[in-house]
């Protein structure tokens, strides 16, 4: 395959970035998207140019590190995958591909396609846990969890924290990410005692960090590589309302 790539290049957080066009040839359709970028980088290095910086690690769709905005979609044109699982067979020979970093104020660009997502960690630090110390936990089967709730909790817990939801949202809202964690614990008996503080604190932090509000376009759900459902947002809203009212 022969492709034209328009890639966002930005030296560092302070510099102004711009698109740079590259052409690349002889790409196998079985190549993954990141492997295509590896090939480009090899060619850039050979030409004494600086390789394109992008985040990636596990390359099997679970670590959540890769974060490319490809042709106007987080993680590109395939559904339910991260950029590292996207394969070039999803493109056509001769295509032009535009590659950008996540665009959201709370995720500042570090260099080229790499952004700072530590805001997500900060939200989790506010309450994305059950406060239990190591040791002294009760026998596991003393806590029974109905299969249905357990499955729903697992659906929510599959979030990989990549930030595609924020990148997809016109308001840069983190509602899907935050609600996935709130939902996981709201659905389990273990999470009840501190449920109110959890949702209040996490939402407050989310707002403080500059994430926008939800205006129900559900772009987040449509672009989530793990198919996290928007019903989690409804559940979080309910939790939040209850926490404020009761």
């Amino acid at each position: 395959m022969k492709l034209t790539l328009k890639i966002w290049r930005q030296k560092d957080a302070k510099s102004t970035g711009k698109f740079v066009t590259y052409s690349i040839d002889n790409i196998s359709p079985n190549c993954s998207f990141l492997e295509m970028l590896d090939i480009l980088n090899e060619q850039l290095i050979a030409k004494n140019e600086e390789p394109v910086v992008f985040d990636h690690d596990c390359r099997e769709g679970i670590c959540g590190m890769c974060s490319l905005y490809i042709n106007g979609r987080p993680h590109g044109p395939d559904d339910a995958v991260t950029a590292c699982q996207l394969h070039m067979r999803k493109f056509k020979d001769g295509d032009t591909i535009v590659i950008e970093p996540w665009r959201a104020k709370p995720f500042p660009v570090i260099k080229d396609l790499m952004v700072d997502r530590s805001a997500f960690d900060k939200i989790i630090q506010e309450g994305g846990y059950i406060s239990v110390n190591t040791g002294g936990a009760a026998e596991a089967n003393n806590i029974l969890v109905g299969k249905e709730n357990s499955e729903l909790a697992m659906d929510a817990a599959s979030c990989i924290g990549c930030g595609a939801c924020v990148a997809a949202c016109k308001n840069a809202s983190a509602m899907l990410f935050v609600s996935a964690k709130v939902s996981q614990f709201a659905l389990l008996p273990q999470g009840q005692i501190e449920a109110k503080q959890r949702v209040m604190r996490m939402v407050k932090k989310m707002d403080e960090l500059g994430f926008g509000n939800c205006t129900n376009t559900y772009a987040c759900e449509a672009e989530c590589p793990k198919l996290i459902s928007r019903s989690n947002i409804a559940r979080m809203n309910r939790e939040f309302m209850c926490a404020k009212v009761i």
Binding site: L44, R59, D121, Y129, L144, S150, M154
Partner: protein, 645 residues
Amino acid sequence: MAELNSKIPKGSLTSKWTHYKDHQNLVNPSNKRKLDIIIVGTGLAGSAAAASLGEMGFNVKIFCYQDSPRRAHSIAAQGGINAAKNYPNDGDSIYRLFYDTIKGGDYRAREANVYRLAEVSNTIIDQCVAQGVPFAREYGGSLENRSFGGAQVSRTFYARGQTGQQLLLGSYSALSRQIKLGTVKLYDRHEMMDVVLVDGKARGIIARDLITGKLERHFGHAVVVATGGYGNVFYLSTNAMGSNTSAIWQMFKKGAWFGNPCFTQIHPTCIPVHGDFQSKLTLMSESLRNDGRIWVPKRKEDAEAHRHGKLKANDIAEENRDYFLERRYPAFGNLVPRDVASRAAKERCDAGFGVGETGLAVFLDFKESIGRLGKQVIEDRYGNLFQMYEKIVDENPYINPMMIYPAAHYTMGGTWVDYELQTTVTGLFAAGEANFSDHGANRLGASALMQGLADGYFVLPYTVQNYLAGEIRVARMSTDKAEFAEAEKAVQTRLEKLMAIKGTRSVDQFHKELGKIMWEYVGMARNEAGLKKAIELIRKLRVEFWKDVKIPGALNELNPELEKANRVADFMELGELMAHDALNRNESCGGHFREEYQTEEGECKRNDDDYKYVAAWEYISDGQFKLHKEDLVYEEIEVKQRVYK
């Protein structure tokens, strides 16, 4: 001078750990605040240890090279975590888990450590459930189990095909709670470059801020390294791209001996290699072998026709299929341990029965189980794995059998540690996959998560405290000390040297070349001539690397190529040590298969008289390593040939 003392507590096997805990030294709460602990790595072992030690009141600093602790490669573990709960009432017990693990490791692990691992396994499940880890459940609400390789009981707890993710998010959330409380300070996008020794004790690290490229000095009364395994020495492996050996290799050079470096695990069920551009191999969980049957064509002409695309798997009649694992190992069938399954697949492919474009693949077929259980049940159990396979290979595994082949996955070898997980450097601890301790020559499925969390939650909090009890009079040291300055200077010099080479070949080209050497000569089957050749080739490659590697960019900035170059430089040295270790071990055991030492049926032939020991290597100088032996004493278990027939 360090010496090998495994510090196994006295007393009966079942009472050792209790005895240790009852008699360990404690640190009182006001002193804990004055003691700093550095932890490197935020996988299961690192994050669990950081959270637990933080809860206890110590000052913890934790480091990871990724942008968040939640990205550590533990997250990619799919299948499950073992524990001896015996919920299915199928005869499991702590002893049986201990026994299976020792046997699975081909009698090359330390009894006392493995027993402790089995002993704390149940507490891990309790802890994770309390944290809200959404394990699979029965309709009645109780926890569900499944079976895994190397065991005849169902003792594996799981969260779909994402168990590692859920356990890591559990320990990450416990860690996040401590970060909020201020007991733990997080340094993300930081890589450990070296350990700092003061008067022979580990007192800190030199870390590189990967964004600014600046070197930093960090002091700790103790240092815990939990940086994972070194499978990326093979270039293509199931590890994350950033997984590396550099932390434990630098420790090795500072006196922390390396245990059993040649014990690497080749996982049988991975998606086969399909092109030169490939950057990693994707694992298909071992749990698939619960319901999938592994086979190749019985007739060579069928295999050949499949390779040329003239015959489809589904068109090969039942009587023309060779379910080689069921045929060779009727008692365990498709659930033989990983080393056995991998070698059997290699044997068939080498004999000309392999399928797929390259002939280096075997089928993993769900037709029978879909027929028996229905598609929905299979989808519930393995849905995400089937989806992953389809995205990569572009074939529907519900209809056509998967094609799989073994790939480098896990390293049983690692930094040598004693019973307390302390290395041969005082005050320096190694945990999780980074240490050599519990899996002998082969790790059983669903045991890596168990070990990572056992080390992090339930071993280090005791043993590190025991060590620190003797350090309460040591005040925090200034990092202006000469030892820190010297260590930083050495790192700076090495990085400058790398940048100054300005050669012609990229880091990846060297890494790929190293990987080819390692896979060919130090991979699934090894022999004396090949290992000697590997040493020679690696030495040559190293010389070329230091003359001709090309690193763009600058030193004091974000520079991923420099990060990779630094890691590959260490991988090359490690590769040589692995070959030395494999050459020294004139026997076959577990994942270490020396072609010269096999039974008539092609199984591993151990040599217990001469090699029933842990090989602990000491770094002398470049390419010079000295062997020390820790004899393995089996008091509880009778050492015999491992049979899965």
